[in-house]
């Protein structure tokens, strides 16, 4: 009933048998652009990203850096949730560990790149150890355990007062070493760009091929995965630890960017925005992390001009809308919109 009336109203954009909703909800293969377009796109994108901090005021560099930080979180979380099918509402905890690794490391006089390495390693280890019991649980229960992690994070930071200085927080010197002629915002921008680029390339490699297929098998059918020789248990714990490492590095960069960390930076809302990010961008897609990061960075800015409470409402509404109409996120929408166009471009691979 509803389906037919929707079709009549929208006048069916193409001769499909289903309604517009069905058309939107349809799974689609990734766009396979011709090689020349990919190379040109990467070249233009890289040049633009390299120039941005040199020609813009620092507040713009700040927001673009934040987009890259969210992208990094989204890449890791999507490996775990989108590809591996293991829900986590608790990645703000790993983000916090990374941020405090940089803050505490900075106080101890360790240089930035080294503290960032710690910001990757420490959440990786914590994620691995927490994952050992937590990943025995499935679906809702795993969601609840990780939710508890997110809720406990600010309290845990306050409780670790000798290390974290509790509610007072820690001020961080985010300036580059003296021999690098960059301002603070430019320095953190380039660090974030490097981290996000490496993260993107690594995620793409993991998500495709043998390992990517094993993640999807674990998500869709554990017994089948085991029959194929996939060590389901090891796959889950490694995914959890790896995604924690992504969040940790992002948290470390966040601390350097803001030059301050305090317990209130890492509340439950942060975790919810991470989940919103991957759902909006597109579960189980790599480019989705970028689109989702743009969403969580810029939409709250727009909504807060209406009311500070509007952000939560917007996230809620958007999550519902995506669950119903765009289960494959913005990437799904891009595929739907550009699929036919890209397929017609000359020089496509495999044709």
């Amino acid at each position: 009933m509803t389906a037919t009336s929707t079709r009549r109203r929208t006048g069916s954009p193409r001769p499909s048998r289903g309604s517009a909703v069905e058309w939107l909800r349809r799974p689609r293969p990734p766009l396979a652009p011709p090689r020349w377009l990919t190379i040109a796109g990467i070249a233009v994108g890289a040049a633009a990203l390299a120039v941005v901090p040199l020609v813009n005021p620092s507040y713009i560099n700040l927001t673009v850096t934040l987009v890259m930080i969210w992208t990094l979180v989204g890449l890791g979380l999507n490996l775990l949730v989108g590809f591996g099918g293991q829900v986590s509402l608790g990645h703000s905890a790993f983000f916090a560990i990374g941020a405090y690794a940089v803050a505490v490391g900075g106080e101890a006089g360790i240089p930035h790149p080294a503290t960032l390495a710690i910001a990757a390693a420490l959440p990786f280890l914590v994620g691995y150890v927490l994952g050992l019991p937590a990943l025995r649980l499935h679906g809702l229960q795993l969601g609840l355990v990780t939710l508890a992690m997110a809720m406990a994070t600010p309290a845990a930071i306050r409780a670790l007062e000798p290390l974290t200085h509790g509610s007072r927080g820690i001020a961080i010197d985010g300036d580059p070493p003296a021999w690098i002629p960059l301002a603070h915002d430019q320095w953190v921008y380039y660090l974030a760009l490097a981290a996000a680029t490496i993260g993107y390339v690594v995620t793409r490699r993991l998500a495709r091929g043998r390992l990517g297929r094993s993640f999807v098998a674990v998500r869709d059918a554990e017994i089948v995965a085991e029959t194929l020789g996939v060590d389901v248990w090891r796959t889950k714990t490694r995914l959890f630890a790896a995604s924690a490492a992504y969040a940790g590095v992002a948290g470390g960069l966040y601390a350097m960017l803001l030059e301050f960390v305090g317990p209130e930076n890492f509340n439950l809302t942060l975790s919810i925005s991470f989940v919103t990010l991957i759902v909006v961008g597109g579960l189980a897609t790599v480019p989705g992390a970028v689109l989702g990061a743009l969403f969580v960075q810029y939409v709250p800015t727009l909504t807060s001009s209406i009311s500070p409470a509007a952000t939560g409402a917007a996230y809620g509404a958007v999550l519902i809308a995506f669950a119903f109409f765009l289960p494959y996120g913005l990437v799904g929408l891009v595929r739907a919109a550009l699929g036919r166009l890209v397929a017609r471009l000359p020089g496509r691979r495999g044709t």
Partner: protein
Amino acid sequence: MDALLAVSEVRLSFGGLQALDGPSLQVRDGEVVGLIGPNGAGKTSLFNCIGGLYRPQSGSIRIAGREVAGLPRHRIAALGVGRTFQNIGLLASQTVLANVLAGAHHVAAGGWWATALGLPSVARSERDHRERAMALLAELDLADVAGRMVGTLPFGTLKRVELARALMGEPRLLLVDEPANGLVHGEVLELGATLRRLATERGAAILLVEHHMGLVTSVCDRVVVLDFGRVIAEGEPHEVARDPRVVAAYLGTAA
């Protein structure tokens, strides 16, 4: 003696139900063995014990000399065991090609670090297995559905996709659970020919659970009949089909 698969006196019960009551059987390299019996005879239970999905309470199952009982499930594929599922165990969200490639998991290269670093060995392995997968799909007459999502294809096609996936792992022992289920007559004959060819060309042993007697008699070298979890007959297909115990098991005995 040197059987590829040696099942010996396996017992499995679910609560009070004795699903397997000590059957023994052997499969040699390159042999096609049919496992038949009425519904509830324990065929799929025995299959799942061999594949590691169930752990029998007693008895032994050895594949190429290795005891299977107690081995983690994901280690069994590496012993050279491939299987298909009665109700299709494909990943519906993926393409046919991706599903078939997933069958190469334990023979393909590419651990976490090697993949993250993009080592050439990983790319080479991926390319080789992609070629193998396409060749297999062509062999099983599936080449033109390679890019299709599994969820959109008919049951009979999916049975063949599953077979292709099991073959990607280069099994020495192929466990095939009711392949003719849901196929029309012509497809059954074709499937029989395919299975026979796989056994001769690849030297793979096949253990086949099947209801379709026509397929069993045309394909199998030997047939094992289960009833109430026990082996009640074993031998060449035509002999077994005439065995009074088998007839009684299928049709019921006069009281």
